[in-house]
Symmetry: D2
Amino acid sequence: MKVGFIGLGQMGAAMAANLVKAGNELTVYNRSPDKASPLLELGATAAKHIADACHGGVVMTMLADDHAAEAVAFGDHGIIASLPRGAMHISCSTISVDLSRRLADAHEKAGQRYVVATVFGRPEAAASAKLFVVAAGAPDAVDSSRELLETIGQRTFTMSSKPEAANLVKLSGNFLIATVIEALGEAMALVGRGGIDLHAYLELLTSSLFNAPVYKTYGGFIADRKFEPAAFAAPLGLKDIRLALAAAEELRVPLPMASLLRDRFITLLAQGGEKLDWSAIGQLAAKDAGEG
Amino acid sequence: MKVGFIGLGQMGAAMAANLVKAGNELTVYNRSPDKASPLLELGATAAKHIADACHGGVVMTMLADDHAAEAVAFGDHGIIASLPRGAMHISCSTISVDLSRRLADAHEKAGQRYVVATVFGRPEAAASAKLFVVAAGAPDAVDSSRELLETIGQRTFTMSSKPEAANLVKLSGNFLIATVIEALGEAMALVGRGGIDLHAYLELLTSSLFNAPVYKTYGGFIADRKFEPAAFAAPLGLKDIRLALAAAEELRVPLPMASLLRDRFITLLAQGGEKLDWSAIGQLAAKDAGEG
Amino acid sequence: MKVGFIGLGQMGAAMAANLVKAGNELTVYNRSPDKASPLLELGATAAKHIADACHGGVVMTMLADDHAAEAVAFGDHGIIASLPRGAMHISCSTISVDLSRRLADAHEKAGQRYVVATVFGRPEAAASAKLFVVAAGAPDAVDSSRELLETIGQRTFTMSSKPEAANLVKLSGNFLIATVIEALGEAMALVGRGGIDLHAYLELLTSSLFNAPVYKTYGGFIADRKFEPAAFAAPLGLKDIRLALAAAEELRVPLPMASLLRDRFITLLAQGGEKLDWSAIGQLAAKDAGEG
Amino acid sequence: MKVGFIGLGQMGAAMAANLVKAGNELTVYNRSPDKASPLLELGATAAKHIADACHGGVVMTMLADDHAAEAVAFGDHGIIASLPRGAMHISCSTISVDLSRRLADAHEKAGQRYVVATVFGRPEAAASAKLFVVAAGAPDAVDSSRELLETIGQRTFTMSSKPEAANLVKLSGNFLIATVIEALGEAMALVGRGGIDLHAYLELLTSSLFNAPVYKTYGGFIADRKFEPAAFAAPLGLKDIRLALAAAEELRVPLPMASLLRDRFITLLAQGGEKLDWSAIGQLAAKDAGEG
């Protein structure tokens, strides 16, 4: 399939690589073009402009935030101006529900198809095509996107015919992960102060009721106090909680745990955590308790 | 082995049954004696008084709260007064760290051995001997208790030579479970308001990053709004969060998520939830959002 | 003095009336022009367009939110396009620090002067020229605005040479008022449940340590459960807390009480409180406690 | 009047001094007897035992906490055992509602009268007899106590015929003061980061909407970062919030602001604040924001 791919960060590059390897004819675009090199070696073509990535039937985007997604989609030479009628935009970025709704409207006016396919999984999962994909959009459009989505992930969950629903699910999922980090941070600050070995504690938790990857991964980071290098940096964590809270405010749903997480991320950033993994909020309970 | 067992609530009765079935010579005591009947049919002997359950080398207790545990242990005819020197008390109750420390002191003065063996798992797990057991105490005492503990659970985790450490771990574990309930309650209030089907959402979560029993069990209760009958009633949830907060205060560890949970449980009880399962706090975010 | 005045809501109309009565030659503009009638009777002139209010040396604005303030200031026929070089814009609206900074930049580029003069006080205080005015901007500009500010208020506090500092102070002040409402709501829910008469309790508080107008005013509303008509409606309260949180996030200052207030306002609006006074959040603690 | 007075801390000593100066025949008792010296110089008599302070018609107590109050009241030689039938105990201590209720029951059984008269005001106010007194109890008992209460305070507020209601009001009042400290701490962290001078900001607040002594006193401490010497030490602040939360839990009233304050006090103590004034929690928002 002829596919454009825009946004070659850690996640995007890994997803694009799997698309090339699966035999798709990929044209890739990134604001800083050097990120494209490894993909060109795999056989992808470099797009000089966004428009060059919009000539196939499908363009996929994996961008860092609303600002980037808005810049790429709108404007004189953006996706909406460049994509042919009937062609499809598959947006994988973690962006706001509000922007996604505006994208849906704009694509509809332009006679283009729009599917949101957000993904769960850290860069390793992206590299091994083990992402979980949450898709939403018009049923026929989601169907058309299915093969591509199965190429980047291990399973696709279709959630709604409204594309922005997949953004809401993604934001809620990152909120849930952050609650795990904070909860582990508090529990481990408590039992650690009580003299319990944190690795033994984590072994107990993850062998019994909490035998899920998120507990293992983040519990390990907290037990080791190891938050670098960042697979998902703290400012992105703050961004996602902010977007979850904004969506919740619009829907009139108070989320007290998300409010608490927002305060934690701001504290982390205020204390110099810009470069740390977002799981470094898991150290703040111990810090409040006078450690380190 | 000759074993006394005190406390025949939902959990205790199931644990005692497994001990009898495994061939132990069990003498059982419960404040309201009718609870003993099913065990007597299995071959256990009824104790008229607490002291009658203290004549073997071991007495196990599984009581509802500090009040009950204190009443059974102390006093003229309690465990400490009745147990022979060198005999062992295995305390499985979810009680305060403070009371457990006082029990440890009292047993030491009386020349008795004291092991704390708290358990994770709902009544079904107790019935099928699938509990996870968290043990702490003097290493030789824990060793002596191992066979009994393996009879009631699927795995025993030894955490510390200080008995009360197992109480702290148990309280921290119930705190972690409660954070899952609240986090799911908030996330599901949000995506539900956004038009997502809650069962599909839960399927996504528990097939991907959150594939742990607690998410399945409690997420299902919240999606179905089904909080009766209570396997673990709301007042017990409040009690455990209160005990976790008390232990944390003594250790000087602030736990903002536990504070939030405490407020949720009080709200639930204030609004008539005394008889509901503790997971009914998972409905409060939706209620705040104007539903139901 | 020839003065334009834009924004004739409850507050703006009262402020404008005092400016006319003090002898100023006032040209008034409001999006819905009927609001101008009482002022015309006092001697003001009606402006058909925003630009018509920009012909004197000064234009004052008192608008509901960022959206309104942005619409009035920018655009082809807005204040910035219409105001002569050297003329002054005095912005009294409660708007975001971010928008205020953008206004400062735009005015500077246009060679215009910009003073922020936010006000504290409810509509009665505006009517009797008893507002407290918080001014910020270039010292000579603030000096030039002083006579007008003294006409609408009882005292002017100059806080900074950066105009947007006065917006920050205003937002922080509304945050502080909201903390009083919430704190009173919680305290009164508690003592009320304990059988104390709420009016006697309020008399005690406001005769002793809390003898400030905010405690009297809002405590009375809560004791009487009287939140209509709204002098300052709940959605405006949410807006101001949101703006305070946004400013705080930019400055990397976590504000846990503001987070709590944000959740309260969302809950109030979710439960049908759009038309209530913002002090109706003071009823939510009692509601959580099962009352009403 | 012949009066016993037990508890000669900062507050109690000042109150006792005023009672002596007003001509009462005072017998004073303190656990560490040297505290009595200044009062003996004023004409008071020293009691060797608690019972010696119970021979007049009235004994007043001003003790640090539940532990001290319980020790003094109960036991073989405590107040309840020593006070004649018909004599009165006026309890001024900030103790739990629960203990106060137990005291009420015990006094009733012993045929003694029991009035609770809690006080608001810092040590300076106690010294100058400017306390605000909150009284509760049987109306005739409160009447009999009135002259004494007017000797120690500037005004007496009678709140209820149930003595423990005055304890609840006192705890709620200290909760309200703590909300002011926290709110000022957050607001001042915010505007300070925004470049506003904190003393000018405080002058604005306390000259306008927040012209109450608590804002002036505590705002000044926060602006000056001066939390020593402690007029009311941080551990007492934690104790009072804990007691307010316990009373609220019993009455089934969730108090989210009190939960937040509890976490703040634990953080302060964890970070070495045992000797600081309780208003030092007002520095924690700035600390979270990376200052100091």
